[in-house]
Symmetry: C2
Subunit: 350 residues, 2 copies
Amino acid sequence: MAKTGKSKIDQSKVVLKRRNSRRDVLSASQLASQLQKGDRQTLATCITLVESTNAERNKTGLEVLKNCKRNSGKSIRIGITGAPGAGKSTFIEEFGSYIISLGHRVAVLAIDPSSTRSHGSILGDKTRMPLLSANDKAFIRPTASGGSLGGVSAKTPEVIQLCEAAGYDVILVETVGVGQSETAVHAMTDFFLLLALAGAGDELQGIKRGIMEMADAILVTKADGDNIKRANLAKAQIKSALHLFPSEESGWIPQVDSISALNKKGIDNAWNVVTAYQELARSSGYYKKKRNDQKIWWLNQLIEFEVLQNFRNAKGVQAAYTKATDQLLKGKVGVHEAVKSIIAVSKKSG
Amino acid sequence: MAKTGKSKIDQSKVVLKRRNSRRDVLSASQLASQLQKGDRQTLATCITLVESTNAERNKTGLEVLKNCKRNSGKSIRIGITGAPGAGKSTFIEEFGSYIISLGHRVAVLAIDPSSTRSHGSILGDKTRMPLLSANDKAFIRPTASGGSLGGVSAKTPEVIQLCEAAGYDVILVETVGVGQSETAVHAMTDFFLLLALAGAGDELQGIKRGIMEMADAILVTKADGDNIKRANLAKAQIKSALHLFPSEESGWIPQVDSISALNKKGIDNAWNVVTAYQELARSSGYYKKKRNDQKIWWLNQLIEFEVLQNFRNAKGVQAAYTKATDQLLKGKVGVHEAVKSIIAVSKKSG
C-alpha cells in the first residue's frame, strides 16, 4: 500500500513537469509534425491532451489529430482480452517483441476499467512488461476509463489514431475483461483475440459469457509442463464448440491454438493468424466496411452517452429515479408510470 | 397476397367491433374484476388497451393492472427462441398442450419483430397452433413490436401481467429471433429455452451468436426418423460446448436434450427441466432477485428509449446527424466534433 502511494506521488510530479513543459506551448500543427516523426514524448503529450477534461487542452489534442495525415487502414488494431491470470502480460510481452522483430512498431494500450487515473502511469506496465518497456520500437500506455462507456475511455479511438500517426503500425488494445469493456474494445479493433486458461477440469477459467463468440482467435495459454495435456484438450473442445456457431460476417473462421509464452511456442502462429485475417478482410473489402461501421458505432455510443448523461444530471432526476425505483419494486407503481414521473421531472428542469 | 389482404380486412372489422363494444365503457375496476375471473375476451380487450397508443385508452389499461391483485411470483414465464424452421410452433403446440394436461393454464405471447400490427390478429396463430388455439385453457396472442426496443413491444411486460391476472400461470413468450429481441425476451422471462435444429453437417442451423450462452435449456428439435443420429450428435456437442462456459448466477446448469414433437418424445422432460429450475431458483431466492432486477432493467430501457427518442425527434437533429455522419466517414471531422455538432443542434431546438 505504501508503495502504491509513493508511485502516485511520483506520477503527479511527472504530470506537473509535463504540464509546464515546452510542449504545452507548441501549436497543434507543430505537435502534429513532431508526432509524425515518431517522437515518443510528443505522442505521450498528445495522448494526455486528447484525454484531458480541460476543454482548451482537449481541443488542442483533437487539432493535432486533424493536422496529421490520416493513415488509418495501414495499421492493424488487435484487441486482447482474457480473465485475470490467463497470462495477458506475458503473452503481450512475447507477442509484441516477436512482431517488432519482424520490423513493426507496436503500441500497447492497456485499458483498466477499475482505474480512474486521468494521466497514465507507466510504472506498473514497466514491471509487467519489462522487455517491451525497454524496447524503443514499443510504446506502452495505460488508458484510464473514468468509468464511462462500459469501462473504456471515450477517447481510446483517438489515442489509437495518435499512435498510428506516430508510426505504430500494430496497436494492441488490452482489456482486463471487467464490465462491458470487451464490447467496446471489440468495436474499435480489427481483430479480437481471446486468451483462455484451461482449468483444473477442462473448463475455461473466468471466461465471461458472450465473449467467446466475439473472438477471431482463441489462444489457450500456458500450454507447457504439466499443463500441456489439459491445454490441448481445452483447445479441441473450443474448436468443437466454435463449430456450432454461425460463421462471421467477414467469412473468417475463428482459429484456436494452444500457446506457451514460457517456451515461446505458438507466438509466431498467433501473428500468422492475424495477418491471414488481415489479408482476407482487406481483399474482401470487409476491413474498410468494418472500420466505417465502427466509426458510426462510436458516434452513436458517444451521442447516447452524452444525451443520457445530460438527462441524469438534470435537476431532480436522480431523486425522482430513486423514488420511482423504490415504488416500482414495492409494486406501488407500474414501470410506465415510473418512467413518466422521471421524464416529467427532467422536462421541468430542462 | 390476395389472402393476406382479405385477412387484414377481416381483422379491422374485429377491431372496430371491439372498439364499439360494451367493454370500452366499463371502468378499469370493472374490467379488472372480470379479468381476474379469467374472462378471455376481457383479457384480449385489456391487452389492446395497454398496447394502445391512444393516451386515454392506454391509461385505462394501466389502471386495470393497478386494480388487479398482483400475483407475480406465482407464474412461470418461459422465453422460447429458435431460428425459423427450428420447429417453434410445433413444439409450443405440444409443450403447451402437455402443460395444460397437468392442470395449468397457458398463455402464448408470440412476438413478431417484423410486424407492425397494432392489434394482434390471431388468425395466423390459429393455423400455426390449431390444437392449442382450440383449447380453452390456452390463450394465444401475437404482440406487435412496432420496431421499438429491440423488436419487443415496450408493453410486453404489462401484457404478461395481464395474462397472469387472468389466471394464466404458465406464460410462453415466443420470439422468432430477429434483431435483438432475444435479449429483451430474456429480460422479461424466468427461464430461457432455445430450440436448435441440427444441420446437414453437425452444426446448428441459424443460431445467432450470443444466444446459446443465454439459454437455460437447449432442445435439439426434430430428433426423429433419419434425423435422430444427427440430433443426438448435436446434443452431445452442445453439452460439451456449454461445459466451457461459466456457470449461471443462479447456480443452474443449462440442460440439453433432444426432442421430437412428432413422436411426443422429450416434451415431458422439457417441462421437468423448467420445474426443476423453478424449484432451485425459488428456494435460493434468485427468482425474486431476478424479477426485481428485470423490473429495473425495463425501467432503465424505457427511460433510455424515451430520452433518446425525444433527442432524435428534436428539430434539426436528424439533418445534423446525416451531415455529421457523412463528414465523419469522409474523414473531415473527428467523432467528438461530430457528436458536439449534433448535440448543439438539439440544445438549440430544446
